[in-house]
């Protein structure tokens, strides 16, 4: 028993040996520089979680208010926030889409239309030039035509209303007059001859033909450049460049045959250049 007491006493002395002053000074200096962590770990975690949740809520609401969320998320945000009296846009449902050239099918947007056309073996570039699925307000603005309502802009897209129907006589004259009032004069003059031809593979969709190359003159040339360089809506906004003639020559067949994408371009171009 005495031996054990002696052992424990020797062990306790080991724990009472003071730390050397130089070592204690070094440690205490380092400890003084340490910034303490106030509060408990749980409190800190709860605060971080709450801040994250609030940030997520505010950020999500802000994105929903800006209508930049993906459509499904925007729809959910619309429905959810409507319950608490906050109105945000309902995704893409509120944007009117052009249905011309869609063939009776409803497409969510232009990209979906082009994709479906490409998947079904159609010419993707031809489909890309179709107005189908494009937002109406965008089409109106980009085309450079007069500011119009979406419905009016739709009327100026593609073939004129009498192109695919057998309008004759007074009905055709009325349609032409309405077209002229809405979209300008060129389209009426250009398209009062006959219906557009069916599109050929590798060519642009049918457009008013016949004398369009003659009547449209510049617009036929513009269409030629449009064939080469992309969307005609962009070309329509450009001033008549010197290259237009070159394109007109090279694409003279297009101008003559009238195989142009849309009448919108021709009308807007005509109005631009004429104006």
């Amino acid at each position: 028993m005495d031996e054990r007491d002696d052992v424990t006493a020797r062990l306790r002395r080991l724990g009472q040996e003071p730390v050397e002053p130089w070592l204690a000074s070094r440690h205490l200096t380092a400890m003084a520089r340490v910034r303490t962590r106030p509060g408990s770990a749980w409190t800190a975690r709860i605060k971080i979680g709450a801040a994250f949740a609030v940030g997520l809520l505010l950020g999500g609401t802000g994105l929903a208010a800006a209508n930049v969320l993906p459509d499904p998320a925007q729809g959910v945000a619309h429905d959810t926030l409507a319950k608490v009296g906050v109105h945000v846009a309902d995704g893409d449902h509120g944007v009117a889409r052009n249905t011309d050239g869609c063939g009776g099918t409803t497409y969510k947007n232009h990209g979906q239309f082009v994709k479906s056309q490409a998947q079904s073996g159609q010419n993707a570039s031809t489909a890309a030039k179709s107005p189908c699925g494009k937002p109406l307000h965008t089409t109106s603005t980009v085309s450079g035509a007069n500011p119009q309502s979406p419905a009016q802009a739709t009327d100026c897209q593609g073939p004129p209303p009498w192109a695919h129907s057998n309008l004759t006589g007074q009905a055709k004259a009325d349609a032409q007059a309405q077209w002229q009032a809405t979209c300008g004069t060129a389209g009426t003059e250009a398209n009062d001859q006959e219906a557009p031809e069916a599109p050929e593979a590798g060519h642009q969709p049918a457009a008013p033909s016949g004398q369009s190359g003659e009547t449209h003159g510049q617009s036929g040339e513009d269409h030629g450049s449009g064939d080469t360089h992309g969307p005609t809506t962009t070309i329509a906004n450009l001033p008549a460049p010197a290259t237009t003639e070159g394109h007109g020559e090279s694409d003279g067949d297009h101008g003559q045959s009238g195989e142009h994408p849309t009448t919108t371009t021709s009308s807007s171009t005509t109005s631009t250049t004429a104006g």
């Binding site: 052992v7 062990l11 080991l14 724990g15 003071p18 730390v19 050397e20 400890m31 303490t36």
Partner: protein, 164 residues
């Protein structure tokens, strides 16, 4: 009650250093500094009496020692490691070389218990909590450890010190 880390260091650093040396911790002086740096960082979150404070500090020391041993086991020191830039402190020699050698002959479990119990001056319950053992197991380990230490130190034969 607002605790000052410096006061805690002055009160408990001798016991913690003795614990580290008796456990044959690698570089016990540096490890002591790391332990009390953590104590200084976390002391604002501590609440309790002096016994709880002692138990908490030794819990930190125990975990740091285990971590350090694991780290060194994963990456053993290479023979061509650069030498330390400061000379070894002569005062770092163990106070009781004979006792230190005798502790080295105990099993790690026995040494852990007896060091926490007497050098750390912790009650059996606190040692049981730190070592995650039952109090009865701690008591048994303590009994066998003291018995063996007494035998070694009493006879002197097994406690022969080779390393000074």
């Amino acid at each position: 009650m607002v605790l000052d880390a410096g006061d805690v260091y002055r009160a408990l650093s001798p016991a913690v250093l003795g614990y580290l040396r008796a456990q044959r911790a690698p570089d016990p002086e540096d490890l002591l500094g790391e332990i009390f740096l953590q104590v200084a960082r976390d002391i604002a979150r501590f609440s309790g009496d002096d016994d709880s404070l002692r138990r908490w500090v030794f819990t930190v020391a125990h975990h740091r020692l285990v971590d350090e041993r694991r780290r060194r086991a994963r990456r053993p020191a290479a023979a061509d490691d650069p030498l330390p830039d400061r000379p070894a402190n002569p005062a770092a020699e163990p106070v009781d070389p004979e006792l230190m050698a005798a502790l080295g002959q105990l099993t790690p479990e026995q040494r852990e218990v007896v060091v926490l119990r007497f050098i750390g001056d912790l009650p059996l319950e606190a040692v049981a909590r730190i070592t995650k053992r039952k109090v009865g197991a701690v008591k048994a380990l303590q009994h066998r450890a003291l018995e063996q230490l007494a035998r070694i130190l009493g006879t002197g034969g097994d406690a022969h010190i080779d390393d000074g």
